[in-house]
C-alpha cells in the first residue's frame, strides 16, 4: 500500500475510531474499554463485535491503534467464546488487510474480465436488470444466496426479497448438520440443534463429532470440554471418540475407537443394545436396537465386543453422559439414522434435558438444507434464474461438490452479482462485483444460539472502497422498484438505520452498554422434549465409485473451515496439529495402502473418483483406517500467496471436486462421505513441509503424563519437596516481579490458536513453504504433537513450546555482545539492535526456540498496516524469540502506575494465554505466592522440559493426566 492509502486509513479512521467509518454517524461507535471521544495516539481503543469467520459467532474485541485494527481478542463478556478465539478468528485480520482485496465495484466486460466501475454505474446495471425482471413478471427469476445471516441483515434481505417478489433467500453453509435436525425431528419432534452441555457431562461419547475443530462451535465446545475433561481436584471426565481417522478431536480422546467408515450408527445401536442387556437402560429402548447382534456389529464395525461393552458400561454409568455425532464419517446417506441412534443413546442414558438441552438452539438450525440449494442449482441449469445475488462468505463453486455442476449452472445465469470482498472461485463467475465491507468494518448482529445476540459494529473505516451489502441492496432495490428513499417497502436509507430501529426494543435504551458488552446476552428456558423410541436401521451408507476403492473422507479443516479462511497466510503457515504440515494439501493414506502402492511421504498420488481426479502428495498415517483415504477441505491459495510463499501450482487440491452430489434422503443434507476413490502412483514428488521432525520423544520426557490414579494420589499427598539446585553462584535476585508462566498440558487440545495469536501480536513474518520445510519458520511459539504407544493407536500429547525464559539460560553467556541477557524481571531479553547474528545462542538453546531472520521478510501491502506498533519489526540477520509479550507487560505496569497501584494478578495476559479456548496457559508473577501461575507451579503435576540440563526455566508445564484406556 502506498503512503497515501496509509494516511487515508489513519486520518479517515482517526475520525473513524470516533465515527466508525465513512457512512456511519459519529456517536454510535463505542470502544469497549476506554470510551474515547477523540483518537489518542499511542493509546489503543477496543471495539467489540462478532467474528463472522464461521457460523459459531464468537464475540470479538478489536484493538484499534491510530485508527487501524491491529489485533483481535475474544470478548470476555460473550457467552459463546468467553474471551477466547480460535486461530481462524485470530487470522481474520489477514482477510481485512488482504492484498487481493477487491478495490472497488467491478463490472465484467465480456470476456475481457473485470473493469473498475463507479458504485452508481454498477448498481444501475443491477437495478435495471432487476426492474426489467420484476416488470416482466419474472421476479421469481431473482435468487439471493447468503451465508448464515440470522440477524437483522437476514431480516432486511428477506424484506428486500419480498419487496421484489424474488425467490426465498437461500442461506448457504457447507456444513449445515441437517441430519441432526432431521434426527431430532424424528426422535424429539423438534427441528433444532440443541445446546450440548459438555461441561456437565461425566462421559462424552462422540461419534465423529470434531467439536475441537469445526463442529458447530469449536471455541465454546473446546472450552466446555476442557471443563469436563481436565483434571481438577482429583476428578476428571472421560472422553470416548469413535472415528475411522485420528482427527485432532480423536487425539484428545481418552479412548479413541477406530471403526470402519460409515458404521457409527451400527456401533451406537450396538452400544445401546449392550446397555439394555446390562440393564443400564430402559427395556423399551431394546426394540430400537433389537435388530442388532453384538457379534455381527463387532465384525462390521471392526470394534471388539469387549470394547463395545466397556463403552456401554462407561456411558451407561455416567451421571450424566453425553453422546454427540457429526463430522464427515457421520454424513453419509445414512446420516439421519445414525443421529437417531445417537439420540436414542442420549435418551436411554437419560441425558436429554441434562446435557442435551433444547431451547438454546444453535443458529445452524436456520440454514437452508443442501437439497434446496441443489434445487436452486437445478433451476439455474434449467435457465429459470436470470439474476443471482451472492452475499459475502459464500463460495459455492468451491464448497459444493463438483457433482452438482454448479459452475456450469451459474454460467447460465445472465446476471450474477457478487458481494465478495476478496476474489474467490465464485466471484470469478460474477458479472458485477459490489464488494461488501469486511465484517470488521460493518454494522450488523448475529445470534449464535437462542438468547444470545451479538452486535457487530465497525472497528475501523473500510480499507478499500467497499460498502455494506445492506446499503447497496437497499439502494438497488429502491431503484428497481422505482421508489425513492423513505417510501415503499424498503424505505431505510442505510442498513445501519434499519438495524438501530430493530435494536431499539432489544437494548431497551442502553445501546451504548450493549455495544460495549458486544450484544445482548440472555438465557432461554430449556424446552422439555420426550423421546420417541423407533427402530433405527443401521444400513451402511451408499457409496458411489469403484466398489474396490477406498472410502474418501473429505473432512473440514480446523485451519480453513470450508476454505473461506484459506486466504490467510498465517493459517496456511500454522501447522495442522496432527500432521504438522503447512501450506500444502495432502491425501492421508494408511500405512497398508502406502505399502501396497509402494509410496513414501511426499510422493504424488492421483486420487480418482467418477467426478474427477486430484493430484496430491501422500501423507502416510499409521492411524487411518485401512479402508479409507482422507483429504482436508478448504486448501486454496490466493494470488498473492502464489508464488511468493508456495510454488505456483494452480491444480485443484479441493476434495469437493471428487464428490458426487448425493444427499441424505431424510434430512436433505449433503453426504460428504459418498464416494470410493482409487489411488495411482504418479511417480513424481512434492515433499510436504512438515515442521516436526519426529513425533517420538525418544524417552526424553519432553511431554510428560501421569495416570489418573497417580494424579489423584499426588493431589492428596501434595508435591514432594524438590531438591535445591547445587550451584557455586549466588541466586539471581529479582527486585521487582519475576514473570513466569505455566502451561497445563492436560488442558491443551492442540488447536493452534496460541500460535496464530502470537504471530498476530508480535509481527512474526510468514516464510513460505520452502523455508518452513527447511526449518526456517519464525513462529515464536509452536505446538508440538508427541505420540506414544502403538503407532497405529498412539496416545497423543500436545505441547505448546516457546522460549522457556531459563534462569540459567544457555543462550546468554555465549552471546559475544550481550544481545541476549537476563532482565531484572526474569525474562531472557534479546536486543535486536545489538545482535550481530552469530547464531551461537540458537545452537546452544536446547529447546531450539530461537528464531533467525534468514532473509528480509516482507509484509505485502496492505498487510503491513496490521503490524503491532508496540513491537519491533526485525531486520535480516538478527535472532528473535518469544518475549513473553513484553509490550503487554510494560502496558500493564503503566496502567497500574497510572492507577497508583501494584500490578494485580491477571492484569497482564500474554497473547497466547488470552486466546486459549481451554485456558491452558497462565501467566503471572512467580514471586507473588498468591498468583495463579505460582500456585500452579506448586502443583504435583508440575515439571520442566529437559529439567536435567539444569536450565531452570520460568515456564512450568503440568503433566497430562491419562486414563488407562488411552494407552490400550
Amino acid at each position: 500500500m502506498n503512503r497515501r492509502d496509509f494516511f487515508k486509513i489513519v486520518t479517515v479512521s482517526g475520525a473513524a475510531a470516533a465515527t466508525g467509518g465513512c457512512q456511519q454517524a459519529s456517536e454510535s461507535i463505542l470502544p469497549l474499554v476506554v470510551p474515547n471521544e477523540h483518537l489518542v495516539p499511542g493509546v489503543a481503543s477496543w471495539f467489540s463485535t462478532v467474528c463472522r469467520e464461521c457460523p459459531a459467532g464468537c464475540g470479538v474485541i478489536a484493538r484499534n491503534r491510530e485508527g487501524r485494527v491491529v489485533k483481535l481478542e475474544g470478548n470476555p463478556d460473550h457467552p459463546v467464546s468467553a474471551g477466547a478465539l480460535c486461530l481462524r478468528g485470530q487470522a481474520a485480520l489477514q482477510g481485512l488487510y488482504h492484498p487481493d482485496r477487491i478495490t472497488g465495484p467491478q463490472v465484467r466486460e465480456g470476456s475481457a474480465g473485470f473493469k473498475a466501475a463507479t458504485w452508481d454505474a454498477a448498481s444501475k446495471t443491477v437495478a435495471d436488470k432487476l426492474a426489467a425482471l420484476k416488470n416482466g413478471g419474472k421476479s421469481r427469476a431473482i435468487a439471493v444466496v447468503t451465508q448464515l445471516e440470522n440477524g437483522n441483515l437476514g431480516g432486511l434481505l428477506d424484506r428486500w426479497v419480498q419487496a421484489l417478489g424474488a425467490r426465498p433467500r437461500v442461506t448457504l453453509e457447507p456444513f449445515a448438520y441437517e441430519s441432526i435436525r432431521a434426527a431430532n425431528r424424528a426422535t424429539f419432534n423438534r427441528d433444532a440443534i440443541p445446546y450440548y452441555a459438555f461441561e456437565d457431562a461425566e462421559v462424552v461419547l462422540s461419534f465423529g463429532a470434531d467439536f475441537i475443530e469445526t463442529w458447530l462451535s469449536n471455541v465454546s465446545y473446546a472450552r466446555t470440554f476442557k471443563r469436563m475433561h481436565s483434571f481438577r481436584d482429583g476428578r476428571a471426565g472421560t472422553f470416548i471418540h469413535v472415528e475411522p481417522r485420528q482427527s485432532l478431536t480423536a487425539a484428545n480422546a481418552d479412548e479413541w475407537v477406530r471403526n470402519a467408515p460409515g458404521t457409527e450408527g451400527l456401533l451406537a445401536l450396538a452400544i445401546l443394545r449392550a446397555m439394555v442387556d446390562e440393564g443400564m437402560a430402559d427395556r423399551r429402548f431394546g426394540e430400537a436396537a433389537a435388530s442388532v447382534d453384538l457379534k455381527r456389529a463387532a465384525d462390521e464395525t471392526g470394534v471388539s465386543v469387549e470394547t463395545i461393552k466397556r463403552i456401554a458400561k462407561a456411558f451407561g454409568h455416567a451421571k450424566p453422559g453425553l453422546a454427540v455425532g457429526g463430522g464427515v464419517s457421520v454424513s453419509g446417506t445414512n446420516a439421519t439414522q445414525t443421529q437417531i441412534a445417537i439420540n436414542l443413546l442420549n435418551a436411554a442414558a437419560g441425558n436429554v434435558g441434562k446435557t442435551v438441552r433444547f431451547g438454546a438452539d444453535s443458529a445452524y438450525g436456520k440454514v437452508t438444507p443442501y437439497a434446496e440449494v441443489a434445487n436452486l442449482a437445478g433451476a439455474m441449469a434449467g435457465g429459470e434464474i436470470e439474476a443471482l445475488i451472492l452475499g459475502p462468505g459464500v463460495n459455492p463453486v468451491f464448497t459444493l461438490p463438483s457433482g452438482l455442476k454448479l459452475a456450469d449452472a451459474i454460467r447460465k445465469v445472465p446476471l450474477v452479482v457478487s458481494f465478495a470482498n476478496v476474489p474467490d472461485q465464485t466471484s470469478e463467475l460474477a458479472h458485477v462485483v459490489l464488494p461488501d465491507t469486511h465484517w470488521l468494518e460493518s454494522w450488523g448482529d448475529y445470534s449464535p444460539r437462542e438468547g444470545v445476540v451479538g452486535f457487530l459494529q465497525p472497528t475501523m473505516s473500510p480499507v478499500r472502497d467497499s460498502r455494506p451489502m445492506g446499503d447497496t441492496l437497499l439502494r438497488i432495490g429502491r431503484a428497481a422498484l422505482g421508489v425513492e428513499e423513505g417510501k415503499g417497502p424498503i424505505p431505510w436509507p442505510t442498513f445501519e438505520q434499519y438495524l438501530k430501529g430493530a435494536w431499539a426494543p432489544l437494548v431497551k435504551g442502553d445501546l451504548e452498554g450493549a455495544l460495549r458488552r458486544g450484544g445482548v446476552f440472555g438465557d432461554v428456558a430449556p424446552a422439555a422434549v420426550t423421546a420417541k423410541v423407533a427402530a433405527a436401521d443401521s444400513t451402511p451408507p451408499k457409496l458411489a465409485g469403484d466398489a474396490g476403492g477406498l472410502t474418501l473422507l473429505a473432512y473440514p479443516s480446523l485451519r480453513f473451515y470450508d476454505g473461506r479462511s484459506a486466504v490467510s497466510s498465517w493459517l496456511q503457515e500454522a501447522p495442522d496439529s496432527m500432521t504438522q504440515a503447512v501450506w500444502d494439501a495432502w491425501v492421508e493414506i494408511s500405512t497398508d495402502t502406502a505399502k501396497k502402492l509402494g509410496v513414501v511421504q511426499g510422493d504424488m498420488l492421483a486420487v480418482k473418483s467418477p467426478q474427477g481426479t486430484l493430484e496430491l502428495p501422500a501423507y502416510i498415517s499409521p492411524t487411518l483406517h485401512p479402508s479409507a483415504v482422507a483429504i482436508p477441505m478448504g486448501h486454496r491459495y490466493t494470488p498473492y500467496q502464489r508464488p511468493r510463499y508456495v510454488a505456483a501450482d494452480t491444480k485443484s487440491v479441493n476434495p469437493m471436486d471428487l464428490l458426487p452430489a448425493v444427499a441424505d434422503a431424510t434430512s436433505g443434507g449433503l453426504a460428504f462421505m459418498s464416494v470410493k476413490v482409487t489411488l495411482t502412483k504418479l511417480g513424481t514428488r512434492r515433499p510436504l513441509a512438515v515442521l516436526q521432525a519426529t513425533h517420538d520423544q525418544d524417552h526424553r520426557e519432553i511431554a510428560q503424563h501421569v495416570d489418573l490414579g497417580a494424579a489423584r494420589e499426588q493431589a492428596l499427598r501434595g508435591r514432594p519437596a524438590e531438591e535445591a539446585h547445587p550451584t557455586l553462584y549466588p541466586d539471581q535476585k529479582y527486585p521487582g516481579p519475576r514473570w513466569g508462566m505455566t502451561i497445563d498440558v492436560d488442558a491443551c487440545v492442540g488447536c493452534q490458536a496460541c500460535v496464530v495469536s502470537c504471530q498476530a501480536e508480535n509481527n512474526v513474518p510468514v516464510v513460505g513453504k520452502a523455508s518452513a520445510a527447511y526449518g526456517r519458520q519464525l513462529h515464536w511459539m509452536r505446538l508440538e504433537r508427541w505420540a506414544e504407544g502403538k503407532p497405529e493407536h498412539p496416545a497423543n500429547i500436545f505441547l505448546p513450546m516457546l522460549c522457556q525464559h531459563c534462569e540459567v539460560a544457555p543462550c546468554e553467556p555465549v552471546c559475544p555482545v550481550y544481545a541476549a541477557y537476563r532482565t531484572e524481571e526474569g525474562l531472557n531479553g534479546q536486543v535486536y539492535n545489538r545482535c550481530v547474528g552469530t547464531r551461537y545462542c540458537g545452537n546452544n538453546c536446547p529447546y531450539h526456540v530461537r528464531r533467525f531472520n534468514w532473509f528480509q521478510y516482507e509484509f505485502p501491502a496492505p498487510l503491513e498496516v496490521q503490524l503491532n506498533p508496540d513491537v519491533t519489526v526485525r531486520q535480516l540477520g538478527v535472532m528473535e524469540k518469544c518475549t513473553m509479550c513484553v509490550q503487554r507487560i510494560i502496558a500493564g505496569k503503566d496502567r497500574a502506575r497510572d492507577e497508583k497501584r501494584a500490578v494485580r494478578d491477571g492484569d497482564i495476559q500474554t497473547a497466547c494465554q488470552q486466546t486459549c479456548p481451554t485456558q491452558a496457559i497462565t501467566f503471572g508473577n512467580l514471586k507473588d505466592e498468591g498468583s495463579g501461575a505460582t500456585k500452579l507451579t506448586h502443583s504435583p503435576r508440575a515439571y520442566h522440559v529437559l529439567e536435567e540440563i539444569g536450565t531452570r526455566p520460568s515456564i512450568t508445564y503440568l503433566r497430562k493426566v491419562v486414563r488407562g484406556g488411552g494407552h490400550a
Binding site: R700, I702, V817, T838, N843, H848, V878
Partner: protein, 446 residues
C-alpha cells in the same frame, strides 16, 4: 645445475639458489594464478549475494545454525599451527632440520590465519556490525561479553595473527638485506626500505637473536592456546558431542596434524619446481612424515576417548547423538574422516613411504580431507541430532556455502603463490647456519 645436487652447498650457493626462486615465473605459474583468481571471484560474488539477500542464501537452518563456515574456519586456524610449531617450538628445541622449511611454513601460518579470519565475518548475520565484538571505547559503556568464547576467539586469533606476522617479518629482515645487496634498480630501492638498513653488524645480531628467541618462547604457548580457545567455542556449549573437556588437546593435536600435511603440500612442489633438493632433503621429508604419523596416532587415541566417554557416560542423549552420527545420514562423512585420519597415515610407518614425495603428497591430501570432515562431523551432525527431537534436521550445502568454502582455498593459495615469488621462501640466514662455516685451516679451526 643444483638439481639433485647432494654435495653441501657453500654460503654463496645458498644466496644464489634462494635468489633464483625469485626469478620471473613461467606460464604454469600464471595459469595457476588465473585459475585461483577465478575461484576467488566466485567467492566474492557469493559473499556479496549473501550479504545482500541474507544468511538464508547459505544452506543453514535450525538446528544447524552453524555449518560449513565454522567448519572451514576451524580448519584454516588448524592449518596455521604447524607453521608456528616449526618456526617457534622446533626453534626452541634447536631442531636444525627445520631451517629450510620454516619460512614457507610461517608464511602458510599467516595466510591460513588470514583466510580463517574471513569466516567469522562471512558467518555473521549482520557482518556490518561485526565490530561490536571489539572492545572499543564508547560513551554508552557497551562492551563485549568477555565470557563468550567468541570474544576469546577475537582476542586469541588477532593476537595469533599479529605475533606470527611479527615473527615472520623479523625472520625476513636479514634475508631482505641479502636481496637488497644482490638486486639493482627499483627492486633494490624497495628491498632497502624493507630491510630497515640491516647490516648484520654484531650489535644487530646480538639483539636480533635475543628478540627472536623471546618471540619463539612467546609464540609457543600462544599456538597451544589459540586452538584450545577455538575448541572451547564448542566445548563451552551444551550440545551433545560438543560439551567435552577433551576438546582442547584434541583440537591442538588435530591442528598440528593437518598443518604438517599442508606444509608438505606446499613444500614438495616448491622443492620440485625450484630444485631445492639440496636444502629440502629426504631427511626433512622423513621428519615430516614421522610427525604426521605421530600426531595421527595421537588423534586416533582421542577419537577412541571421545567414543568411550560418550558411551561410558550413560547419558542417553549423548549416546543417541553418537549412534546417529555413526549410523545415520552423515555416517559417510564420519567414516571418511576415520579412514583419512587414522588409517591413511599408518603407511608412514615405512621409511620408504616417508621419503617418497608421491606417497607423502597423497597422504597429506587425504589428511587434509579427513581433518576438514572432522570439523564437519563435530558441527553438523552433532547439531542435527541434539536435545530436541522436534527440530532434528539435515543440512544441505547451498551454492553459496560451497563457493565460499572453495573460494577460501583460492584466497589462501593466491596469497601463497604471490609470496613465493616476492620473498625468499627459504631462510638464507638459517640455511647457512646448517652449513659448516668456511674454515681455512683445520689447525686453527675451533
Amino acid at each position: 645445475m643444483s638439481n639433485g645436487r647432494t654435495s653441501t652447498p657453500s654460503f654463496a650457493d645458498v644466496n644464489r639458489d634462494v635468489l633464483r626462486t625469485l626469478e620471473p615465473p613461467g606460464n604454469l605459474y600464471f595459469a595457476w594464478m588465473c585459475f585461483v583468481a577465478l575461484l576467488l571471484a566466485g567467492f566474492f560474488f557469493a559473499w556479496a549475494g549473501q550479504v545482500w539477500w541474507g544468511m538464508g542464501m547459505a544452506g543453514k537452518r535450525v538446528p544447524q545454525m552453524w555449518a560449513m563456515y565454522i567448519t572451514t574456519f576451524v580448519f584454516w586456524i588448524g592449518i596455521g599451527h604447524a607453521g608456528t610449531l616449526i618456526s617457534a617450538i622446533l626453534y626452541l628445541f634447536r631442531a636444525r632440520w627445520r631451517t629450510s622449511i620454516y619460512r614457507g611454513a610461517e608464511a602458510m601460518t599467516i595466510f591460513a590465519v588470514m583466510t580463517a579470519g574471513l569466516f567469522p565475518l562471512i558467518h555473521a548475520g549482520r557482518m556490518w556490525f561485526a565490530y561490536f565484538l571489539l572492545p572499543y571505547a564508547n560513551q554508552r559503556y557497551l562492551w563485549p561479553n568477555f565470557r563468550s568464547p567468541l570474544v576469546w576467539d577475537v582476542f586469541a586469533i588477532s593476537t595469533y595473527l599479529s605475533i606470527s606476522t611479527v615473527f615472520f617479518i623479523v625472520g625476513l629482515v636479514p634475508d631482505i638485506a641479502a636481496l637488497r645487496d644482490a638486486s639493482t634498480g627499483w627492486r633494490r630501492r624497495i628491498f632497502s626500505m624493507l630491510a630497515l638498513g640491516w647490516e648484520g653488524s654484531d650489535t644487530q645480531w646480538r639483539h636480533y637473536r635475543r628478540a627472536y628467541g623471546l618471540l619463539a618462547s612467546l609464540a609457543t604457548p600462544l599456538v597451544l592456546s589459540v586452538h584450545s580457545v577455538v575448541s572451547w567455542d564448542f566445548a563451552m556449549a551444551l550440545v551433545p558431542g560438543w560439551h567435552s573437556t577433551l576438546f582442547a588437546p584434541f583440537f591442538v593435536d588435530g591442528a598440528i596434524f593437518s598443518g604438517f600435511a599442508m606444509v608438505l603440500i606446499l613444500i614438495l612442489p616448491m622443492r620440485h619446481f625450484f630444485h631445492l633438493h639440496a636444502y629440502v632433503t629426504e631427511k626433512h621429508l622423513d621428519m615430516m612424515g614421522k610427525l604426521i604419523l605421530v600426531t595421527g596416532l595421537v588423534l586416533t587415541y582421542f577419537y577412541i576417548c571421545e567414543v568411550f566417554t560418550s558411551l561410558y557416560s550413560g547419558e542417553h542423549i549423548e549416546k543417541a547423538s553418537l549412534f546417529w552420527k555413526v549410523t545415520a545420514t552423515y555416517a559417510w562423512a564420519l567414516w571418511t574422516m576415520y579412514f583419512c585420519n587414522c588409517v591413511a597415515p599408518l603407511v608412514l610407518f615405512w621409511k620408504r613411504a616417508r621419503t617418497s614425495p608421491v606417497v607423502l603428497y597423497v597422504v597429506s591430501i587425504l589428511v587434509l580431507i579427513g581433518m576438514w570432515f572432522e570439523r564437519f562431523n563435530i558441527i553438523v551432525p552433532s547439531l542435527g541430532h541434539d536435545f530436541y527431537p522436534y527440530t532434528w534436521g539435515i543440512y544441505y550445502p547451498s551454492p553459496t556455502d560451497s563457493m565460499i568454502v572453495i573460494g577460501s582455498f583460492a584466497f589462501f593459495f593466491l596469497l601463497f603463490l604471490g609470496f613465493i615469488k616476492l620473498m625468499p621462501s627459504l631462510s638464507i640466514v638459517e640455511v647457512k647456519e646448517t652449513i659448516p662455516p668456511p674454515v681455512r685451516d683445520r689447525a686453527h679451526g675451533h
